[in-house]
């Protein structure tokens, strides 16, 4: 999009706006200062960051190309726009999870209901939610070290999101946005052909990243009957499909830039301090993990609120909901971006790239390495090796938990992709057939994580 097409009044309003919230201001300032120092962004001669607060923005801004649900890059103006409400939710999720230093002690990973509860508390009033959490590191029992660590984590996860937008600018894309969320005000996908085309696209990407579904190999096989039906649907959306392919490719390249930017940033932070490098790896893993898992559950919650009985609170509930009819899997296509890669997949790929770049753990023989640390809690400063082990273990646990948590999405996408073929079979058979798919709760996923070597 060229700058000539952008409304000047909206731009002027955003130029004049700066967040009044001191935490947001501080973290964004630090992130931006870090960004402009990076070698990766040197090719970008001109660069600006605009903050858009939907609560105070004018109707002009909300209707302008500057509007974004999360963040957005506009190459014509070499500008990145960040939605302040999105950032506030990010802060809330980061602070909520930061109440426990270790992954296994995290309250929200005990059950799906706890995670959905977190989403609903936040959605109810994000500002209040965040303010309550901010008090836990302030006041009479102030914990400046904990607050500093939270801000470091926020800086890193903000860098990850902005890094994606920088990736669009560096790749020469006209525009790009990090992702799309399930809009609670929009109806769910109801077109079988569109849903099948979309979900098969995601299945291909999952399979490429080795997130397959045992027993569903045919869904990924381009020559199978399942994919023949899907291909016939795709022919109806030729133009859309080719546009989607371009968008997916753009997103992939922007994601790769984001990874590179985060890795360079981590290299800088640890240039003279190896221990700080390990701590930073831990913090960036925390941030990416929290952002991805929270977003996924928020989308599931919005999705569930539109399905009968209007609420989703655990994996068993999802099992029953999805068994009701074939249409449920068509609706589930709304959980996956039309043009964007799947949130958890991006997080898994990013964490893998970062861990690979910053450690040799993934290259170690499988029988000699472990994701677990002998220390249940961060050892004291007198034990630097113990701290190094603990930080790495916590980063690895988050990476593997994101991978394990892909389970539900992989199942939904595979069954959804096969729904065209399944419906054909239903018609030929002439009798209804139940399809029950077990989903894994977050509690069960954590149990699986505990069992990993």
């Amino acid at each position: 999009m060229s700058s000539a097409k952008l409304p000047h009044t909206a731009r002027a309003e955003l130029d004049a706006y700066s967040p009044t919230d001191p935490v947001i201001g501080d973290v964004l300032q630090r992130t931006w200062s870090a960004i402009v120092e990076l070698r990766a962004v040197e090719p970008l001669e001109k660069l600006s960051l605009l903050i858009m607060n939907p609560a105070v923005a004018s109707a002009d801004v909300l209707a302008s190309p500057y509007f974004t649900e999360n963040c957005l890059a506009l190459r014509g103006e070499m500008t990145i726009v960040l939605n302040e409400r999105f950032w506030l939710e990010l802060e809330g999720a980061v602070r909520a999870f930061a109440q426990s230093e270790s992954l296994l002690g995290t309250q929200y990973l005990k059950s799906d209901a706890q995670l959905f509860g977190l989403v609903r508390q936040m959605q109810h009033d994000p500002q209040k939610f965040v303010e309550r959490l901010r008090k836990t590191t302030a006041g009479a029992g102030a914990d400046p070290a904990a607050e500093a660590q939270i801000r470091d984590e926020l800086e890193m996860v903000t860098l990850f999101f902005l890094g994606h937008e920088l990736g669009h600018l560096l790749s020469g894309h006209e525009s790009g946005a990090f992702g799309a969320f399930v809009d609670p005000d929009e109806p769910l996908e109801a077109r079988m052909d569109a849903a099948v085309v979309r979900l098969c696209r995601h299945v291909d990407e999952f399979n490429e990243a080795k997130f397959g579904l045992p027993g569903f190999q045919r869904v990924g096989n381009a020559k199978s009957e399942v994919r023949r039906v899907a291909a016939s649907y795709r022919a109806r959306f030729k133009e859309l499909y080719s546009r989607q392919e371009t968008f997916f490719a753009n997103e992939e390249s922007a994601d790769e830039w984001a990874n590179r930017i985060v890795i360079e940033y981590l290299e800088r932070r640890s240039a003279n301090d190896d221990l700080e490098g390990r701590r930073s790896l831990y913090l960036v893993s925390r941030g990416i993990f929290v952002a991805a898992l929270y977003s996924w559950y928020r989308d599931l919650d919005a999705f569930g609120s539109k399905m009968e009985p209007g609420i989703l609170n655990d994996a068993a509930n999802l099992y029953v909901t999805m068994m009701k009819s074939r249409a449920q899997y068509i609706h589930a296509a709304s959980l996956f971006g039309e043009l964007h890669r799947f949130t958890l997949l991006r997080a898994a790929l990013a964490l893998e790239a970062i861990i690979r770049a910053r450690t040799d753990w993934l290259d170690q023989p499988a029988d000699t390495r472990s994701i677990h640390s002998p220390h249940a809690e961060l050892p004291p400063v007198t034990n630097p090796e113990g701290r190094r082990q603990w930080w790495l273990s916590e980063a690895l646990r988050r990476y593997f938990l994101v991978c394990i948590s892909m389970d539900t999405a992989v199942k939904l996408a595979n069954v959804g992709c096969a729904t065209g073929w399944i419906s054909d079979m239903d018609r030929k058979r002439g009798t209804p057939q139940m399809l029950g798919m077990n989903f894994e709760s977050i509690g069960a996923a954590v149990q699986r994580l505990r069992g990993l070597r």
Partner: protein, 306 residues
């Protein structure tokens, strides 16, 4: 409007009382109170909410807010009982929001303190942490040292639930220092037992045993059966794991299985207790054989006989 006065004694007499510090945590749900008790607690007359040994005035508006807070907390508890933790958390955060509107610092502190206990018992240590920290801030502002220690205990419990053991231990130790200073041995025992659990989980069993024995010493001065059960249960495990002093282990097992305590052991804990006691008996009898084991057991463990 004048607040209804309630003495500490009245509060402590409640059969399920979990006065601050009265519910030591051993890292297992068995030692927690059932949510049913909490409903009874929160639904109880507001005299139970306003705990003090002196009078103070409370405005009508504060009282209204306090009632609304209680109503939200009760709705949350109902949801917990219905298995809807997702919805419960929203009600509990609403309760936290409402309590923040109470103008009177002392009333706000008491409500926050109660919410911290309720949240923790309902399985929301994240929210308990927020409530306890706000209560602690007010304790410090108002100079309420004794209550500060109780709230530190609640904070420690919340941290322990989220596996922040260093922070939990620090909170328990801070509380313990105040309890001892005030000759509040019942709560000192709770804090000591909680510290012992953390120390034991670190593998420092000798220190843990010493702390548990110290806790039993405090309980001799200020008996509290629930705390004693948890302390003796922890000691039972610690002595068995270390295979230390069979005589001392047997004596502890005998006390735990006494008429006084056995019936009060929470049901989920009865099975593990019997198992550990059986191990202790086997070890003791190997070291100190007796002619008639059946007769010996009936004499030493009448509650387990038959």
């Amino acid at each position: 409007m004048l607040a209804v006065v309630s003495g500490w004694a009245e509060y402590a007499e409640l059969p399920w009382a979990f006065g601050p510090g009265r519910s030591p945590r051993m890292g297992r749900p068995a030692d927690r109170l059932s949510p049913v008790c909490l409903i009874r607690f929160v639904l109880n007359d507001r005299r139970m909410i306003v705990l003090t040994d002196h009078l103070w005035t409370i405005t009508a508006m504060d009282e209204e807010i306090a009632k609304a807070t209680t109503a939200e907390a009760n709705e949350g508890i109902e949801k917990v009982l219905a298995g809807r933790a997702d919805e419960a958390s929203v009600h509990f955060t609403n309760a936290l929001d409402r309590v923040g509107q109470i103008v009177n610092d002392r009333v706000r502190r008491d409500e926050l303190s109660l919410l911290a206990g309720a949240f923790d018992h309902c399985g929301f240590p994240d929210l308990a942490l927020m409530a306890a920290q706000q209560a602690i801030d007010l304790d410090k502002t108002l100079g309420l040292d004794a209550l500060l220690a109780s709230d530190m205990l609640a904070l420690g419990n919340a941290h322990a639930s989220m596996e922040n053991t260093t922070k939990a231990e620090a909170a328990f130790r801070q509380a313990l220092a105040v309890f001892i200073d005030q000759n509040n041995f019942g709560d000192a025992a709770s804090a000591t037992t909680n510290i012992a659990a953390i120390v034991a989980n670190r593998g420092e069993m000798d220190d843990a045993i010493e702390l548990l024995e110290k806790s039993l010493g405090y309980l001799e001065q200020s008996p509290f059966d629930e705390t004693e059960i948890q302390t003796r249960f922890a000691l039972l495990q610690a002595l068995e794991i270390t295979k230390r002093d069979a005589k001392a282990a047997l004596q502890n097992a005998r006390e735990l299985c006494s008429e006084r305590l056995m019936g009060k052991i929470p049901p989920p804990q009865v099975g593990p207790t019997k198992q550990f006691v059986a191990d202790v008996i086997a070890r003791y009898l190997k070291e100190y054989p007796v002619a008639d084991k059946k007769k010996w057991k009936a004499a030493n463990f009448p509650t387990l006989a038959g």
